[in-house]
Symmetry: C2
């Protein structure tokens, strides 16, 4: 096979992959599965139910995903993409450009999202609870998300001239995880003052709200 042929066939394969990823049936499957996985857990939801609710033939499902695990991985990756988009929107928000204010906005958003009655905790933590093997692709994607979030905190803190960005970022990660757990498992009606107090003690800044 000549280099030119190899290049063109690689391009063709890439185009085919793009087309496949954009397929409506595939999107329907991923959306249905995401909702079900999040609401009920991965092991609790079978393929049959997903394809029935997504109105997709079984062969079509296995055409797009080699196995259920691949779907779970796609679900986790999708959540990762989603959270990155939200974060970017928050950082690009018109404002005074104060990175500390951006941090507070992120946490305020999280408490609001957590107040939704359909909120069922952090999807990454929940999936990790069902996937014990840290080498599993799903777990690797989850680890990527965590590294990304920690780094995001660190960058914002460094921009805000925090005296110890590494340690403070670590604390904020603890708070983030604690927040999702609490919103899921506890009555979070009185969470607001607790979070404001926490941010004040950790960052030395009070949210404006």
């Amino acid at each position: 096979m000549s280099p030119a042929t190899a290049a063109s066939s690689a391009a063709a394969a890439e185009a085919a992959a793009d087309r496949r990823a954009a397929s409506p049936a595939r999107r329907r499957v991923l959306e249905t599965a995401s909702a079900l996985f999040y609401a009920e857990g991965v092991h609790a939801v079978g393929i049959d139910r997903i394809i029935a609710e997504a109105k997709v033939a079984k062969a079509t499902f296995y055409h797009h995903f080699p196995a259920k695990d691949a779907l779970v991985d796609a679900y986790v990756a999708e959540q990762f993409r989603f959270q990155r988009e939200i974060a970017e929107a928050f950082l690009a928000e018109p404002g005074d450009g104060d990175p500390r204010a951006a941090l507070v906005r992120v946490f305020t958003y999280m408490t609001e999202a957590g107040a939704d009655p359909a909120f069922r905790g952090c999807p990454f933590v929940n999936v990790a609870a069902e996937y014990p093997d840290p080498e599993h692709p799903v777990r690797r994607t989850i680890a990527e998300h965590r590294a990304w979030f920690l780094d995001l905190m660190r960058r914002l803190l460094a921009a805000a001239d925090d005296p110890a960005p590494d340690r403070t970022a670590g604390i904020l990660l603890l708070l983030r995880d604690g927040l999702t757990v609490r919103c899921y498992l506890d009555d979070a009606s009185d969470l607001r003052p607790v979070l404001e107090d926490a941010l004040e003690r950790v960052l030395g800044v009070a949210p404006e709200s």
Copy 2:
């Protein structure tokens, strides 16, 4: 049935229940199931495997537990009891009786427990991830544990003359949950300074270690 007969039959039933709870077979089942549930998740472990590893007949299992859910509930209740015992041991520890020091001890212990390679996060959070219905008995037991821990923090803080025990206890609960998640999912080798810093910022006290 005379009152006396009723009383004696009630006592007999109670004694039988005690005997049943103390049965070696039942204990073996619960121990095996606890280890497996924690290590691999509830839905991922079947009854067949539990009874095989516990070396118990299936009829014996269903003699002690009406259904798998009852076993899961027993598992969660057992974890609750376990954590209470640990906490009581910590509080009864001979020392200066400083409740703030007791708080720090609790968190130091948690980081040490979380460093175990077999650590797989908080069993309550992991089980809750697989049980979406908040009215489920298992979820109720989990809620009891969380209320207990929050109250324990609150009592210790009140004894330490914390200016806002309710809010501080809420923050410590956030830290606790964040801690377990982090020990499970992240490289927690550099966790110690982060936690010390967090406790210092939240409590205004540095751990002595």
